[in-house]
């Protein structure tokens, strides 16, 4: 059974487009995250939601907007895509008071 799933796995799009990545977890966790992994494999947190409330919002362009319709889902919408947005985006989740994070398979976004 997939614990943290993301769709799509691959996303190729042109500059200026708007796209969304979806994440779902079936672990019953209260906290979900989005990370960006750049071409040098460096992982950096972007956002975190706890019980549908935004609790971490790192320095990310406001073209990126997360949305959590419920505790099990955290979507990432990106407006006006730029070349520099090309990366692998990982979703993760954890229990409210437990810091162990479970990661999804990643979405490889390529902006051309």
């Amino acid at each position: 059974d997939t614990a943290v799933s993301q769709t799509p796995k691959y996303l190729v799009t042109q500059m200026g487009n708007d796209k969304s990545i979806k994440c779902e977890q079936n672990l019953g966790h209260d906290t979900m995250y989005w990370y960006k992994q750049d071409s040098k494999k460096f992982l950096k947190i972007m956002f975190s939601y706890n019980n549908k409330e935004l609790i971490i919002n790192e320095t990310v362009p406001n073209r990126f907007s997360p949305k959590s319709p419920d505790k099990a889902h955290l979507n990432l919408h990106i407006n006006s895509l730029e070349l520099g947005d090309s990366a692998v985006y990982f979703c993760a989740s954890s229990r409210n008071t437990d810091y162990e994070q479970y990661f999804g398979p990643g979405t490889r976004l390529t902006v051309t």
Binding site: K41, N50, F90, Y99, E100, Y102, F103, P105
Partner: protein, 112 residues
């Protein structure tokens, strides 16, 4: 702000050799420490974690790590590597605010 540094960018070794990857964190308070592994083309998986208690932590796949508070270190070790251990290894630290800070990662290549 806390940071996590990994000393080795790329490690190349032969099967059956011993592996040690260095990790240091900069925060002086209570931290939770993790090692994650990312096999080629896959998502991050937790190898082991340290929250409290015995500073020598055993994880999956024969890995262990030792927390040395006086040195702010959490080094990962494996006595005898296999070809299947070829992967990217990430050290991470978390404070009370759920924020995982990752090191830059170490690429481990095991030659058969």
């Amino acid at each position: 702000a806390q940071s996590v540094s990994q000393h080795n960018h790329h490690v190349i070794l032969s099967e059956a050799a011993s592996l040690e990857l260095g990790c240091n964190y900069s925060y002086g308070g209570t931290v939770n420490l993790f090692w994650y592994v990312q096999y080629p083309g896959q998502h991050l998986q937790l190898l082991l974690k340290y929250f409290s208690g015995d500073p020598l932590v055993k994880g999956i796949k024969g890995f262990e790590a030792e927390f040395i508070k006086s040195k702010f270190s959490f080094n990962l070790r494996k006595p005898s590597v296999q070809w299947s251990d070829t992967a990217e290894y990430f050290c991470a630290a978390a404070l009370y605010d759920y924020k995982l800070s990752f090191g830059a990662g170490t690429t481990v290549t095991v030659r058969a």
